[in-house]
């Protein structure tokens, strides 16, 4: 590690979580210097290690998963068998060591393991714990299991994506889990700051469902106030026309929008059909909205054989909102993302060279870093329990003998 100081140096996090919503909290904290210990077991590895592709060379294996790698870089991985008293004993030591415990199991599972908040607080009075689950810890459906991909439908996102007379659309992966993890990290950091100033810990009950609703809060308020039910509307927006994505050369697409009559004028000048500026059908926002189908067809015809990148650049030079629709591959060559060093390549023991996502924000004084690719299962057992928690070699071996690390 370098001598550069990081914002979360000295912050200790124990993560009893799997998949996305828990581990992504630890990932964000680890990027800015926290020491994060990800807990799983050999019987029950994190599902992101085993259940979903991609795997190195298409061959499944807990240390070959790209899905796990993208959410767990810069962390330490340990295995604890929480079905053994020895495993529980070490889990409690971890809770005693940590500033923050992250868990995203179903409600009451941590209690049954003897690791719930009340116990944790006795072990460690200043502990900050976040419990993140689908529906929250209380309420009639608290125990409903669920996948984030489907919770995105319950929270309105899928119904708000697509063509008005067509079906709802899937969003990629467990979309809502990453909203919950981001809001969860916010709450955890606020609680940690309180702990640092007052010694007082906190228990945060975060419903992934409710977190998601913060991303549609305006539409919900609008319904409550006016009764208007927001509906999926392709790419339309009532305040801009055109406002769509258009097919360009080589299978690329270009997104663009015009928020004033002047901007529309600059668009059609730049695309080389200035006559549209004088066309009565397109003179005002209202008339462009009323004739949107015609307008979209004209723009689509104008863009069909142009390059998306090059056209976006020319439109931006004319101060028109435009950006190529980046595919996933494009995210690795986008000049702005490259400038911000969003992808940091690290050596992963099971996969080889992997791209790790850095952060959506840069900090000027404490810059953060991807310190290592995601760990293999149980990779840091000895380091965490001996170096960080201070077990002697004999103690460690004794726990090993009792099956604690299975």
């Amino acid at each position: 590690m370098s001598a550069i100081s990081q914002a979360l140096d000295g912050v200790k996090v124990a993560e009893f979580g799997a998949y996305a919503a828990g581990p992504h909290i630890g990932k964000m904290l680890a990027t800015f210097g926290a020491t994060v210990v990800h807990v799983e077991s050999h019987q029950r590895p994190d599902g992101f290690r085993t259940e979903y592709p991609p795997f190195k060379d298409g061959k499944p294996g807990p240390d070959r998963s790209g899905c796990f790698a993208i959410l767990n870089d810069s962390k330490h991985a340990v295995t604890l068998d929480l079905k053994t008293p020895a495993g529980i004993d070490l889990a409690k030591r971890l809770v005693g060591w940590a500033d923050i415990v992250v868990e995203n199991m179903r409600p009451e599972v941590m209690d049954r393991l003897g690791l719930g908040y009340e116990t944790a607080r006795r072990l460690n009075p200043g502990i900050v714990m976040i419990s993140s689950c689908n529906m929250g810890q209380t309420g009639p459906r608290a125990h409903t299991p669920g996948f984030g991909s489907q919770l995105s439908a319950l929270a309105g996102f899928c119904g708000l994506t697509g063509t008005p007379d067509g079906p709802p659309m899937l969003l990629y992966g467990p979309y809502i889990d990453f909203i919950a993890s981001t809001l969860g990290a916010t709450a955890v950091l606020a609680a940690l700051d309180g702990q640092r100033r007052t010694g007082q810990g906190a228990w945060i009950d975060l419903a992934q469902y409710e977190s998601g609703l913060m991303f549609v809060a305006g539409a919900l308020l609008d319904y409550h106030v006016s009764g208007r039910v927001a509906e999926r509307a392709d790419n339309r927006d009532p305040r801009a026309a055109p406002h769509n994505a258009y097919r360009c050369r080589d299978g690329a697409w270009l997104a663009l929008s015009c928020w004033s009559d002047d901007e529309f004028g600059r668009l059609v000048e730049t695309l080389g059909f200035p006559e549209l500026r004088a066309d009565r059908r397109f003179a005002t926002l209202d008339s462009r909205q009323a004739n949107l189908r015609d307008l979209d067809e004209l723009i689509a015809a104008g863009l069909r054989w142009r390059g998306a990148e090059e056209t976006a650049g020319r439109l931006q030079s004319a101060r028109v909102h435009a950006y190529p629709v980046n595919t996933i591959a494009d995210l690795f060559r986008d000049p702005q993302l490259a400038y911000r060093r969003i992808w940091r390549r690290r050596r992963h023991d099971g996969i080889g060279d992997v791209a790790c996502y850095f952060s959506a924000f840069d900090l000027s004084a404490t810059p953060g870093e991807v310190t290592a690719a995601a760990p293999g299962i149980g990779q840091h057992n000895a380091y965490v329990f001996q170096e960080l928690l201070g077990l002697s070699g004999e103690e460690y071996a004794a726990y090993q003998g009792k099956g604690a690390f299975q």
């Binding site: 993208i70 950091l189 913060m214 539409a219 609008d222 097919r247 997104a255 959506a360």
Partner: protein
């Protein structure tokens, strides 16, 4: 938790959620708007509730000198000024740091404050395009889509809150403030889950899947994700794995209780079901009776039964369905506050429950404070000279 802190929020739509989240956690957040700027749009109200409103004309030198006096007493500044805009000069981080070395300055902009495209114009549409999200939504081969309700601003605002508080932990330890530079484009990438790993590891470029789940069967079968029901759609997938097999078995049990035609479903041993081995014909045969069954169900019935039977699957909610969901009512998620016309407005309450309490929203949208009162709260005399007394932080919450 954050009641000791004062936040000045100069941001535009791209940053609003950041201050809202900090306010929900107890910070005293002051939203600054120019005189006459409309605040009646639902988005403004929803994302600026729980903040107080300061009308300040930052285009005048008087307004800017008032800003300067305030900034000395602010812990976190949130702004979304693009490089090259006039305001970039007086919001220059070096200048502000000189005035207030403890200040955390959070810039939330489309592409970040520096780089080859930092000055590019982008609304939600272009940001969802630039961050890769549109390439993954819509029918395969057809127009890439955004979510109709803007999402990129929320991704950016939420990341800004994480950045602000990461910097705050450092300041609490060291007294040192710093700049947090948030890129909305980079924040949108978080919505893509593990999609980038496919390109990075195997050179396959994930694309949009429409309304069907694919990539689960070695025979290339697609599984339906959205099913028409009596009053809309439900989201249900014939998954494998323990939870999926249990779900499928319980669905068939439920269908049997209702006396509906089961077709091939009656013969399947769900404990051995493996979607990886299913052909499209197999899937179609399984899905036909399920489709008939769902067609007669209302969304709310599906939600309640699926929950009671511990099945995976949810209805596709509209905002109306969400507004009447008993789970949210039981957790006191909603909070009524007086709206601009005095009639109650129902807001999403604080986003987290802390120590078993959902802290109430303290300020209705547009609760105005004037600059003299705010300076007085900061311990600065109304005339402008810095008062000798230090600000008593947190007393106004």
């Amino acid at each position: 938790m954050l009641s000791a802190y004062r936040v000045l929020d100069l941001s535009n739509r791209v940053g609003w959620l950041a201050g809202r989240l900090l306010a929900d956690l107890g910070a005293d957040v002051i939203k600054v708007e120019g005189p006459g700027v409309a605040i009646d749009a639902p988005d403004w109200q929803a994302y600026n509730v729980n903040k107080r409103l300061l009308r300040l004309d930052l285009e005048t030198s008087e307004g800017r000198s008032q800003f300067d006096r305030l900034i000395d007493h602010v812990d976190i500044l949130i702004e979304s000024v693009l490089p090259g805009e006039p305001a970039a000069a007086w919001l220059d981080p070096a200048r502000l740091r000189q005035r207030n070395p403890r200040l955390i300055q959070v810039s939330v902009t489309p592409f970040g404050t520096d780089g080859p495209r930092a000055e590019w114009l982008a609304s939600d549409l272009e940001l969802m395009a630039a961050g890769g999200a549109m390439s993954l939504a819509g029918e395969p081969g057809e127009t890439p889509l955004r979510v109709t309700v803007p999402q990129s601003y929320s991704w950016a605002g939420a990341q800004a809150a994480v950045g602000a508080l990461t910097a705050l932990i450092h300041r609490t330890a060291t007294g040192q403030g710093q700049r947090v530079d948030v890129s909305a484009q980079a924040a949108v990438i978080l919505a893509l889950s593990h999609a980038p790993a496919f390109w990075d590891m195997e050179g396959t470029n994930p694309t949009r899947a429409g309304a069907f789940v694919s990539g689960r069967s070695v025979k290339g079968a697609r599984f339906r994700a959205f099913w028409p029901c009596a009053d809309g759609y439900v989201n249900f997938v014939l998954y494998g794995g323990p939870a999926g097999r249990r779900t499928n078995a319980r669905l068939v049990e439920w269908m049997r209780e209702c006396g509906v035609e089961l077709g091939v479903l009656a013969q399947i041993d769900w404990m051995r079901f493996d979607p990886k081995l299913a052909s499209q014909q197999d899937v179609d045969d399984m899905e036909r009776p399920i489709a008939e069954f769902f067609l007669r169900l209302a969304k709310r019935d599906f939600l309640e039964q699926a929950s009671r039977r511990e099945m995976l699957g949810y209805p596709v909610s509209t905002v109306q369905d969400i507004a009447t969901d008993p789970q949210l009512g039981a957790r006191a998620f909603w909070q009524d506050l007086p709206g601009p016309d005095g009639a109650p407005q129902r807001h999403c309450g604080s986003f987290a429950i802390v120590d078993r309490v959902r802290q109430p929203l303290r300020h209705r949208p547009g609760t105005e404070i004037d600059v003299a009162s705010l300076l007085a709260e900061c311990g600065v005399a109304a005339e402008g000279a810095k008062a000798a007394t230090a600000a008593t932080e947190g007393q106004f919450v």
